[in-house]
């Protein structure tokens, strides 16, 4: 089993559907110490992704690159730019390939995590989406199919949110209020967790597995 353009298109469609209920949740999380736009931005960005004809891209790499390109026109937010960085990294890693084995997902997520760190000039442990990506990469290591990857991903995200909840933010807008951020989820990390959760749910209950 492998990740194909169909997997990608399907994941985007599911994430896009999930945003209708996630937008307010994520805005509220960002409003506590940031500017309250994480949900709106993400909904706009994923909506843009959903409008891209990914299925008919030449190959997986071209599909990711098309997403990066479309996203670049739709967001000026930090998180949005990190996600576009992720798409470009994935596009380069899968350039010319029709599919990516599930076993390579962990490596790809690690590459994305490094690219995002470079883009955001951020360290691990600063309580951002980067720590989420790191946990995700470790979590899916060795998983060979969609269902097991999804279950592991969900578990990893729950754990990393819990791990960081009571630590201060050192990056993004919330860093201005480091002490106040203790006890709160980082909006970017929370966004990643919620998206993973929405993909995992459908995948586990089997209705239309992501694979």
């Amino acid at each position: 089993m492998a990740i194909t353009l169909a997997t990608l298109a399907d994941a985007i469609a599911r994430a896009n559907a999930a945003m209708s209920s996630l937008t307010d949740v994520l805005n509220a999380a960002d409003a506590k110490l940031g500017d309250g736009d994480t949900g709106t931005m993400l909904a706009r960005l994923i909506g843009t992704f959903a409008a891209v004809d990914v299925k008919n891209a030449e190959n997986l790499g071209a599909g990711f690159m098309a997403l990066a390109k479309a996203g670049a026109a739709s967001t000026g937010s930090s998180l949005g730019t990190l996600i576009i960085t992720a798409m470009m990294t994935a596009g380069k890693a899968t350039a010319g390939k029709a599919e990516l084995p599930w076993t390579d997902l962990s490596g790809l997520l690690a590459a994305i995590r490094y690219a995002a760190m470079a883009r955001g000039k951020a360290e691990l442990g600063a309580k951002t989406i980067i720590d989420g990506l790191d946990a995700l990469a470790s979590g899916v290591e060795g998983k060979t199919d969609a269902a097991s990857a999804a279950a592991a991903a969900e578990k990893a995200m729950d754990a990393v949110l819990a791990e960081f909840r009571n630590r201060p933010s050192a990056m993004g807008r919330a860093r201005m209020f480091a002490e106040k951020s203790v006890g709160l989820d980082d909006p970017g990390m929370l966004a990643l967790a919620e998206i993973v959760r929405s993909l995992a749910k459908t995948s586990q209950h089997g209705a239309k597995p992501v694979a």
Partner: protein, 331 residues
């Protein structure tokens, strides 16, 4: 807060349309027309100078596009960074084949977006360099001055970089003068009242009727202290002292900007300037080119900032070089 606007969703685009209608030297470019460029063709062989940032700070950023200043500017929604594409559009518009300097404030999103746009530009064979405005001395200690936010003092770097580019200098020379200008510029602001993003349910921050915040950023970022309001002269004394504590070795001449954050009227700016001039004089500094007015605002925010650019011969002559944009005309 009441505003003279239509649908908040159209705020930025209607504003940009009005700006370009009123100033035919400016045009909107790019797919979503969220970059502003000079309406004249980019001179081949000239280094391009671009900037960018969120809307809501006029004259910054788009208002400084013009001869001897910026060639193009990417612009985002209110207090949001421009998109990567808008940054690319601005770089493309400013490309005269000699490279493009990206000169903007030190904010996370803007940095990432210009960096990505620069990578795209590199694929198209356009060389870019980045210099960040980091003049807000309230936002980090001198030892960490590279972490400081960019605020009103950025316009001095626009002016020197724009003038040097106009004279035909190379990209690294233009980047060097921009960096030097940033390094010699210090700003400190004081906020009296908040502003509200169009369509938002509440103001960006709150501050009591008799309080002011010293050192607050132009989006309401936290400052150094919040206290009861004090006489203007006392505030200016504190502002000038903080800036002069970071005076570069040997500087004896300064350009001064007394800037309104929005609703603070000219009358008060002149009262502030009067005291600033007295203090600078007492410190043995000679003022050149004072600028007093709304140069970098946050819509209707109340308050003011003082910026000093400590001059050397090179920066002084570049500040005096002819330049012309809708909000600043020299020579």
């Amino acid at each position: 807060m009441k505003k003279l606007i239509n649908d908040p969703a159209n705020y930025v685009d209607e504003m940009l349309d009005g700006l370009c209608l009123a100033h035919p030297g400016l045009v909107r470019v790019g797919d979503d027309r969220r970059a502003i460029a000079r309406s004249t063709k980019m001179r081949q062989g000239k280094v391009g100078v671009v900037s960018g940032g969120g809307s809501g700070h006029l004259p910054l950023f788009t208002g400084y596009v013009g001869r001897g200043l910026l060639d193009a500017c990417a612009i985002g929604n209110v207090f949001e960074g421009p998109t990567i594409n808008s940054c690319q559009d601005a770089i493309a518009a400013a490309n005269g084949g000699a490279g493009v300097l990206c000169l903007f404030g030190n904010y996370g999103g803007d940095k990432m977006n210009f960096e990505m746009a620069g990578e795209f530009a590199a694929m198209d064979g356009v060389e870019t360099r980045t210099v960040l405005g980091t003049d807000d001395i309230a936002s980090a200690k001198p030892e960490e001055s590279q972490k400081r936010r960019g605020v009103a003092g950025l316009i001095f770097a626009y002016k020197t970089a724009g003038a040097l580019a106009e004279q035909g200098a190379r990209l690294d020379e233009v980047a060097t003068i921009a960096q030097k200008t940033v390094d010699r510029t210090r700003t400190i602001g004081v906020a009296l009242s908040s502003c509200q993003i169009p369509g938002a349910a509440s103001p960006n921050f709150t501050i009591a009727d008799d309080e002011i915040e010293f050192g607050m950023g132009i989006h309401g970022e936290p400052g150094i202290w919040r206290h009861k309001i004090r006489p203007a002269d006392e505030l200016v004394d504190e502002m000038i002292s903080l800036i002069l504590a970071e005076k570069p070795e040997g500087a004896s001449r300064v350009a001064v900007l007394v800037n309104s954050l929005g609703s603070t009227p000219f009358e008060e700016l002149f009262i502030l300037y009067r005291r600033a001039a007295q203090r600078l004089d007492a410190a043995g500094l000679t003022i050149v080119n004072p600028l007093i007015g709304p140069y970098v605002t946050s819509m209707e925010m109340g308050g003011a900032s003082i910026s000093l650019c400590f001059l050397d011969d090179e920066t002084e002559s570049l500040l005096a070089a002819p330049a012309e944009c809708p909000f600043w005309k020299v020579g």
